[in-house]
Amino acid sequence: MKGSAISLKDNLSALRARKTFQRAVNIRSHIIRLFLHIFLIVVAFVFLYPFLYMMITSVKSESDLRNLSVVWIPTQLHWKNYVTAAAYLDIPVHLKNSLMITIFSTIGHILSASFIAYGLARFKFRGRTLMFCIVIFSIIVPPQLVLLPQYMMYSSMGMINTYFPIVLPTFFGYGLRGGLYIFLFRQAYLGMPTEIEDAAQVDGYGYLSIYWRIALPMMRPSIVVSCLVSIVWHWNDYFEPSVYLLQIHRLPLPSMLVTVFNGTRDVMDAILNDKLDMLVTDGVVMAAIVICILPVLLVFTFIQRGFVEGVERSGLVE
């Protein structure tokens, strides 16, 4: 009787101790979480600040822009800035151009990079190291260095004023920093155990179908990342379009920002030319910038949901 009472008491105290321990752990993890939130909010604020400034300036009227006391809260929402900006940007035409360039180049990068990197990561052959060196080499070369010969080359092929100089190289692992995606996929393949692919090989799959059906689906995080990066870079790039696309109606949307930057800012000039609607203020410039980044921001938010944690990739027992 007595022994069991003691053990019961012991059990109780043990239970209590455990509970306090649990609580301590909980409190600790809460505190860590709190600090994490604070840290992230501070960092996010640094980034949000210019963005907020842009958004608010984009709806400021001219008198608000002149008034130094109006910083964060405009006296009225001046949506006309967006109308003017849209008129400058000529959205339907250039949005279509942007979409063409971005979509095809991104597809090209992902297909070619994942394919080429699979060869570099999984097969041993003469010249593999050299080829990898060329991949790195191709990222390092500053675009200005090869600009002139490249232009001469494409113009002799009759590709100036088409999207081919921008889109075509992406299907061969080149294009806008194409080597980076090959590097990325190579690292990802090398970081992945080969058991499943070996098993598939034993089951009689060919290498091409192993790549397409097994290796590529497991690369989901890398595909999401290269998709995001390639979209953002192609969307924002102004260097290649400004070199290869000489006609204005072929330019992508963000390249049209230049016309807004160079638009008339002089009120008298605008009145004389009967173009008061097209008067550019800081508000109009910001509105144009917001229009240009909005599509890519939406796409970005949407695609980054593809980051799902803890994808159990197989029933593999390691």
């Binding site: 980034f47 690292q187 995001l228 969307w235 930057f261």
Partner: protein
Amino acid sequence: MRREMSIEKRKKVYGYIFTSPFILGSLLFFAYPIIMSLVFSFSQYKNLANINEMKFIGLANYIEAFFVNVNFVPAFLTVIRDTLLNTPLIVLFSLFLAFCLNKEMRGRVVYRTLLFLPFILGSGLIFKYLMFTGDTETTMELINGIATPSVIQSMFGPKVSNLFSVFFSRITIVLWKSGLQILLFLSALQNISPSLYESAKCDSATEWEIFWHITIPMVSPMILINIVYTIIDSFSDVNNKVMLYFEQVAFSSLRFDFAAAMSWIYFLFIMLLISLVFLIMRRRVFYSAVVGKGGRR
């Protein structure tokens, strides 16, 4: 024995099949411009209209870059110093941030989108506009996010507050430049199989041990790529001193030959630096799949 050989051979052939687009692309889009720019760097041309009329002048352009020109070498040294300072900061910071963003918590999607804002804003014309036009003071304040608080200035005097602003601006540069690196680390963290963590927890490993013995080795391939990319990005940043100078020489003075020679010096140096990184990292990067180095795993 014969069968073994044939499998080896087949693998070789497939290696070439998989890399064939790259071989083709190199020949089509890369070889000609690279060789031509090398030729440019060793020559001098008369006028831009007839570019084929070039004269071979040997190493004269290179000698000019090193010994005659007064702008190139100092700008070069500044860029090297900035790169060496920023790269470790950017890589460490982005690893830490990716680790935070990968944690299960409320508002994760919002934080992720916010933290990638600079990545979206920070490339292209928009950034260039914010950097180079308009009121520079507000722009710097915008980009820094926080200007040095005036309290600090009044309490510690200009010297300390200057130190503060240097410190803050370096931090914010790091923040602005680490978008891609965070993304890459995030993808690497998600590639780690949860079963690894579970088995580690069953062996009663602490968070700290898990971080050092599972997370770090598993993301080490991405650490390599991030170091390499950060170095390249820092060197090929359009707004750094050397690049601005190249642009000036090539497009304002129209001396493509001289610009090509300087670019070659520049990027042979980058190549050297990157090879050094590969050499140092070689034994420290952990690959789950090792092909062709004395058996797998």
